[in-house]
Symmetry: C2
Subunit: 335 residues, 2 copies
DNA sequence: TTGTAGGCGTTATCAG
DNA sequence: CTGATAACGCCTACAA
């Protein structure tokens, strides 16, 4: 059952059928009804491939994310999908992992599939070494690129991010003001965004301690999540355990810290304050519940799609949106 | 840059170019190299839409799930995507929510997009009222349907499930044997699978108590997750709080039970034993960590894709795979 | 308002 | 092994 069959049964030309399919105004109401009728009767659906060929689009956008099972990205995928759907776009999903070469391949793949745009979900897409981001710039010559929680300047690249730097800076400052002398910062991301968070921490420490700041900077990179953080802290020599607060770059690390506290009979937040990041589902499952920085994934997704639709509609649009990231106070801090 | 351009530059016909694109044997090695050369030089990529038109496939399978941000489904999506990718298939993702009519629309949408198959992820797709599953049967006339953790018999429908009935039955039995008199079962799904789980619970209670079983059956439906479960239990009259164990149809409910125990200074597992379901990330974030039934999502996904590939390759394949679901013992039970 | 005809970029069938 | 050429099903000027 194709457009020819319909045109015959309706006694019109395929051009007319095509017009009613595409909601073209210039069709006599009577004719339109007739065609619609026949289409319904025969349960006709236009062939999407042929349509794609003609229009050079199948109304699809590609979403790349490192791991759809990470709670943060899982939420992102959900909101992106829902918002895209509302605008009649489908989602082609790619879980790329964290390897750069692999990601380049996925990018090429999506481009060759002729998606209308590509969304990069997660701050880890922007590499520390700017040369490693060149492939994204090159891709943007062919289609719009939207970064959800990532920043990269280029024409046809659009960014929606949270101000991680400011958020960590303020949180650290708040803890210092509350009397914490030694604050540890644990992170598991070496991306550009990861750097920004560390910088926020550094700035607060530096402002507070001036010359002696170096004695109080205490950061650690963990290659993993819950178990790795717990393990790392537990094997620390006693002399290095003089911190009274820990800020983490992700909720999962903070969960590890809670477990460490439990292992060592430290009371939270009395003996140890803990701050997570992302306000993920994990943060309300733990006991005590986690104080965490909300990276506002839903807002980022909404704005991203809003922007993307403007771009695809050839409307003017701002290329960068920066949201403040509020601290959600729960039970692992006294502040 | 299309196939004609390449054919000209390589001094061959488009037919030959097409042959090398598709790895057809019958091309002289020399010719093949030449064409490959030109293709590489011009960074030529075949047009996916035209290809789709000709082959009537774009090597894409649709995944429907109610909510990609649910930890269980998030993992499912991840594994399905990875396994499909290995077989050179792309993923079109649909988050359908729980409304039946909405789901029917998504199903139609995917079919009209001409995906090669549709995967229904999550037991909640199979409705209690069998008539409501008819749309799935009808869809299977047009393309293969794969149910991940759902059972529906029909030609061209393939099911991979965990034996929820048996798992809950055995868990309940184990708890009874361990001396628990009154065991509560809390669930938040009214699907076919939800029914099976309840039945497993019932059977164990019935076997154990015989005539008096009715006095010991204690089930409750919660329309929500953590907070709702916690609230429900807390507002229960004291006389109804004589249970010493709770089994939940999902880890999130079990987290709610842990919080209830905390609220009421009940020691877990001494005063109250708790069993969750799905072995999700939540189960290791709580304190104490959750004993839970592992619904083996990774295995289900792997088998699903394996089966689907056989079907798409026109190979013979079994239509149903049933996995036992083991109990993962952690800290919320003494068993 | 409607119809004709050419184009979109491949694949596949036949000859040669 | 290679090349013409007809599908594939729809869109869209351009005419009427």
């Amino acid at each position: 059952m194709n457009i020819y069959d319909i045109s015959k049964k309706a006694g019109v030309s395929i051009a007319t059928v095509s017009r009613v399919i595409n909601g073209n105004e210039k069709v006599r109401p009577k004719t339109r009804e007739k065609v619609l009728m026949v289409m319904k009767e025969n349960n006709y659906k236009p062939n999407a491939f042929a349509r794609g060929l003609g229009l050079n689009s199948m109304q699809t956008v590609g979403i790349m994310c490192s791991d759809s099972s990470d709670p943060y990205m899982a939420k992102g995928i959900y909101h992106l999908e829902q918002d895209l759907r509302k605008n009649h776009y489908d989602v082609l999903l790619c879980c790329t992992g964290y390897d750069l070469d692999e990601r380049k391949k996925y990018m090429d793949l999506l481009i060759s599939k002729r998606v209308d745009a590509i969304i990069l979900l997660g701050s880890n897409f922007i590499e520390h070494d700017m040369g490693d981001n060149e492939y994204i710039r090159k891709a943007s010559e062919k289609l719009p690129i939207v970064l959800v929680n990532g920043l990269l300047e280029n024409s046809n690249i659009y960014s929606c991010i949270c101000d991680d730097y400011q958020a960590v800076y303020e949180t650290t400052k708040t803890l210092l003001t509350a009397g914490h002398k030694r604050i540890m910062y644990i992170y598991n991301s070496l991306s550009y965004s990861g750097d920004r968070k560390v910088s926020g921490y550094m700035k607060a420490i530096n402002e507070h301690y001036g010359n002696q700041a170096n004695d109080f900077i205490y950061t650690h990179y963990v290659n993993g999540t819950v178990a790795d953080t717990r393990l790392y802290l537990n094997q620390l020599p006693a002399s290095d355990k003089d911190f009274t607060a820990v800020i983490c770059s992700d909720d999962s690390l903070a969960i590890g810290v809670i477990k460490y506290a439990k292992d060592n009979h430290l009371s939270v937040p009395d003996d140890l304050s803990i701050v997570g990041y992302n306000n993920s589902i994990l943060s309300t499952c733990s006991d005590p519940e986690l104080t965490t920085i909300d990276s506002r994934i839903e807002d980022l997704c909404y704005q991203s799609i809003q922007t993307l639709m403007d771009v695809l509609d050839k409307k003017e649009s701002s290329a960068q949106f920066i949201f403040p990231a509020p601290l959600i106070k729960r039970e692992t801090t006294a502040i």
